[in-house]
């Protein structure tokens, strides 16, 4: 916090000293005024983006875990389909946005879809690792007691994968906010209902740089809030999972 105050103070002083134009580099006081004056619109946009990020993140969690479970049960499916999961990580949204608009139109559902595309892979990758990378002695223990495949999945693989899933979820949560904003850039807005992504676009186009800063700050706060929440939930869940016990 001390460092932040020093940076803000230095920025304010530099704005006065160099007399930067507001459209180029607004002072902290200008950004503060933009937040105060445009608070309602900023809040509404933040809530809309937050909702899209949550919906996309939640969908990624469910779909990602299901895909990871399927991958863990079949080497053939895993080796065939895993490259397509990697595709999700590398596909440029700008390239597929026209396709998404053609198939699903613009608006909230398309934004959620883009969020899922961007945030899904960390869940798949980490959970698959957690389901598969298991001490051979533990697998041997379950073989010794003639456990069925379903019992091994339910009583060994899934609990073992929880810490890995939490790690993937933390990464995915940050990417979900990015995904929601990027989605709003390309596929998701109306003139009356829009999120932070669209707010960033219109404020930058109109050179309302102080408002742009405000939108960026709101995006960061949203990202921190979601990441922090997922981290807290993960820590609570992992209280049982301290693996230093064995």
């Amino acid at each position: 916090m001390g460092l932040l105050l020093v940076v803000l103070a230095g920025w304010q002083i530099a704005s006065w000293w160099f007399d930067w134009p507001e459209f180029l580099m607004p002072a902290p006081t200008d950004v503060g005024a933009a937040i105060a004056n445009d608070g309602d619109r900023l809040l509404a946009a933040t809530l809309r983006t937050g909702l899209a990020a949550l919906a996309g993140f939640g969908t990624s969690l469910v779909v990602g875990v299901l895909i990871a479970i399927i991958f863990s049960q079949s080497r053939l499916v895993r080796s065939s389909c895993y490259p397509y999961a990697i595709f999700l990580q590398t596909v440029p949204i700008i390239a597929i946005a026209p396709l998404i608009i053609t198939w699903f139109g613009t608006g909230f559902p398309s934004v959620v879809l883009v969020t899922v595309i961007i945030s899904l892979f960390p869940i798949i990758a980490s959970t698959t690792s957690g389901l598969l990378v298991i001490d051979e002695d533990l697998l041997e223990l379950f073989r010794l007691y003639r456990a069925t495949r379903w019992q091994v999945l339910r009583k060994l693989r899934l609990p073992h994968a929880i810490p890995y899933l939490v790690t993937g979820a933390r990464t995915s949560s940050g990417m979900a906010v990015i995904g929601a904003i990027v989605g709003e850039f390309f596929v998701g807005h109306t003139t009356t209902h829009y999120g932070l992504g669209h707010l960033v676009l219109i404020t930058s186009q109109h050179l309302k740089t102080a408002n742009l800063f405000a939108a960026v700050i709101a995006s960061a706060v949203l990202g921190i809030a979601l990441f922090g929440t997922v981290t807290w939930v993960g820590s609570t869940l992992l209280a049982r999972w301290d693996t230093t016990g064995d």
């Binding site: 001490d135 002695d137 533990l138 041997e140 223990l141 379950f142 073989r143 010794l144 007691y145 003639r146 456990a147 019992q151 009583k155 060994l156 609990p159 929880i162 049982r240 999972w241 301290d242 693996t243 230093t244 016990g245 064995d246």
Partner: protein, 255 residues
Amino acid sequence: MDCTTTHPALALDRTTVAFDPEHVVLDQVDLEIATGEFVGLVGPSGCGKSTVLRLLAGLLEPNSGTVHRSGTQRIALVFQEPNLLPWRTVEENIRLPLELAGMDATETHRRVNESLELIGFTVADASKRPRELSGGMRMRVSLARALVTRPDVLLLDEPFAALDDLLREQLNEELLAIHAARNTTAVFVTHNVSEAVFLSDRVVVMPPGTDREFTDVPVEFPRPRTASLRADATFARLAGEVSARLRQASGEVER
């Protein structure tokens, strides 16, 4: 070489295990374990002791030869590492085999309490997680998990190797008490010659390499055995004999 019995509890008959043509672990090995017998298995690292246990447990199939297990025996294996599931409590770890077998809750609860009592754990200990336990306590839980199925055969793969001597000796005596109470057939793999002699009715020396025979050293001390046995001159002689056989089998020159 082997203890001839009419109906051995376990037997390997000309059993070969090779993980690849260059790596033959066991070559036409013969071994018989009588019902209720406590057999110590000693040998240098890499001679195939753990492989023998895994064959007897049914975790491994031989490339040739046969593995005999009489009747419908329940077999339990205690690993060198406790292998407790860290997200489960002591009680939940112990009842795992019974859950997998689909045993009803009442009987499961009764057997788990029985196992907890056998290893000297209280009700408060039962709700602890592995991270809250010492190494010795975790090994006891691993043993309790093996015993909860009331096995006819108990296979132990160097279970006390990572523990200090004092704790190891204490657990040796506890293991003997359990063996006496249940008349369980046991095969105990160890590097520790003194431990093998203390626990066993017979010590089987496994040589390295694939062209040597197992050798038996009978141990005829009466039971129950206590820590004072280790100070006995005959005990020292027997331990020396086993060590000598090990060195001979390894090809070292005896002094």
